[in-house]
């Protein structure tokens, strides 16, 4: 990607962080850590890769995305709002009674959400079903799925891994957000999932591992994954939990954390949010 595109995507990622933190900060509590770690991959997919139309969120030929780590919904909501799927004002209704933006993704409430998720381990199976239906309908679109590293401790993920390879869903590209942390501590200390690449490889997937905050690396990996059509693809993203949020970066406790007005202000300032755009509490 040229410097201009790179700069543009990095700036979009910065704005996505700002809007996501404003949304969570307005409520005062939320899944900051895992929302921040997937900002780059979601920004890249929605701004530079996926075939989508905010005016036709259910058009059949669109690319799909299943955010299996559904608690990171707020990042996706920010992108969908910025892309025009729904008004920006909705972002400040996150998790309020009657909102269309619940903590975990809901396909029936939020335009642009392709699958309801929230109970960890279930999204990859659904993504496989979506990919199989895509194949039955002879459409050329891709199906993306994002799972968490802690989520990868769920047995269903590996049931899904086996079946995706067996059914040769070459139109499925999955990512693992490997930020190395889960609620109770470091994944290596709680239930080590390491050797993720060889795990997925041995389950029959095409596997890559990249810096999940590097737009160029994400583009290269997705481009390569799209050339693989006889197997599903896994792209392991080395990420930093809470990335880019001053009060959450690399913090084990950032899975679901309170965020004060002062912390929000500090984080937004660090991200270069313009004073008038800070909003928040």
């Amino acid at each position: 990607m040229n410097q201009e595109k790179l700069q543009d995507l990095q700036d979009k990622a910065r704005i996505v962080r700002i809007e996501t933190l404003k949304s969570i900060g307005h409520l005062g509590v939320g899944h900051v850590g895992g929302a921040m770690s997937i900002v780059e991959v979601l920004t890249y997919l929605y701004y530079a890769e996926m075939h989508i139309d905010p005016k036709a969120p259910r058009m059949p030929e669109r690319d799909r995305l299943v955010l299996s780590k559904g608690h990171a919904g707020p990042t996706l909501y920010s992108i969908l709002a910025l892309k025009g799927f729904f008004p920006m004002e909705w972002l400040l209704t996150l998790n309020q009674g009657g909102t269309k933006l619940p903590s975990h993704c809901d396909r029936n409430l939020t335009p642009g959400i392709d699958m309801t998720t929230g109970s960890l381990g279930q999204g990859l199976s659904a993504a496989i079903g979506i990919a199989l239906a895509t194949r039955l309908d002879k459409r050329g679109n891709h199906v993306y799925a994002i799972i968490g590293d802690g989520e990868s401790q769920e047995g269903q993920v590996w049931e899904a891994a086996m079946s995706a390879a067996m059914f040769k869903v070459g139109n499925l590209i999955a990512f693992t957000d490997y930020n190395k942390m889960q609620i109770d501590g470091m994944t290596k200390d709680i239930m080590d999932i390491d050797a993720l690449e060889s795990k997925w490889l041995s389950f029959g997937w095409h596997v890559q591992r990249i810096n999940g905050h590097d737009m160029q690396a994400i583009e290269d990996a997705v481009t390569r994954a799209k050339t693989v059509t006889d197997r599903p693809s896994m792209i392991v993203l080395d990420t930093i939990k809470g990335k880019g949020c001053t009060c959450a970066e690399n913090l084990v406790g950032s899975h679901n954390m309170p965020i004060s007005a002062e912390q929000l202000e500090e984080a937004l300032t660090a991200l270069g949010a313009e004073a008038s755009a800070k909003g928040g509490n």
Binding site: S119, L124, S125, I130, Q156, M166, F167
Partner: protein
Amino acid sequence: MAKDMRDVYAQTLVDLAENDDRICVLEADLMNATGTKVFKQRFPERMFDVGVAEANMVGVASGLSAEGKIPFAASFGTFASRRTFDQFFLSANYAQLNVKLVGTDPGITAQFNGGTHMPFEDIGMMRLVPNLVIIEPSDLVSCEALIRAAAAHQGSMYIRMHRKGSNTIYDENEQFELGKGKVLVDGTDVTLIAAGFVMVPEALKAAEILKKEGISAAVIDMHTIKPLDNELVLAYAKKTGAIVTCENHQVTGGLGGAVAELLTAEYPALLGRIGAQDMFGQVGTQDYLIKAYEMTAEDIAQKAMATISKK
């Protein structure tokens, strides 16, 4: 050779799929048990056997449904319910999708597979899923009709299906509607409300036994357990004043539980409940088990007389 109920299930799906490319079938290594090999032979691209991985099966079915397919996913009732409950609850039902989950070998029909494979709790679990429709066909005619109704119904369903053996209760042209019970025998002294392949015939036999005792028993085939046909239950509660539910399931949580809840709230009437009385399953022949769990026609008749005696 007489057809098994599973053959009707599989052939009905093939027939439906001939004219509807949305129909898909999923199995978890029980294709031969469920009889859906014929579907695989006819529509190999629409049959997905995920191996021994029921949770993934329901998840994949949910994804297919999110794209407008109509997936029928089957396993033994124990695994279809207990092993996939969260997946079925969330990925299929909370997501408002259209997954038809089939639980086979209900209750004592699990026979030699025993307590590990004997679902006495599946309906109870499924009744807690909001808006879920639950059916249990009692013969081959109702099986085909209700499978067709299930395919036409927009929304997830739990289909409790007998697998081996056949019986005939209905004429082949009988019409069925989800949520509307069938009055098989009218009566004035007691109402036997039964569901499924084992218990509807037992209830019919019980009505004959009672007739010899001078007791007029109505028999209802409650093929849809949720939503319960409240109107019909209340009409017969008023008409006969005594009800006995007959189910191949725990007496709590399922048909007996549903009827008890309705009567308590709307029209308290005498109620007896035939089924497993807070017990686990066990191995044995169906003949042995139906006696062990006191679910025979004689047991039903006695329960009816005991219930009437409280009038």
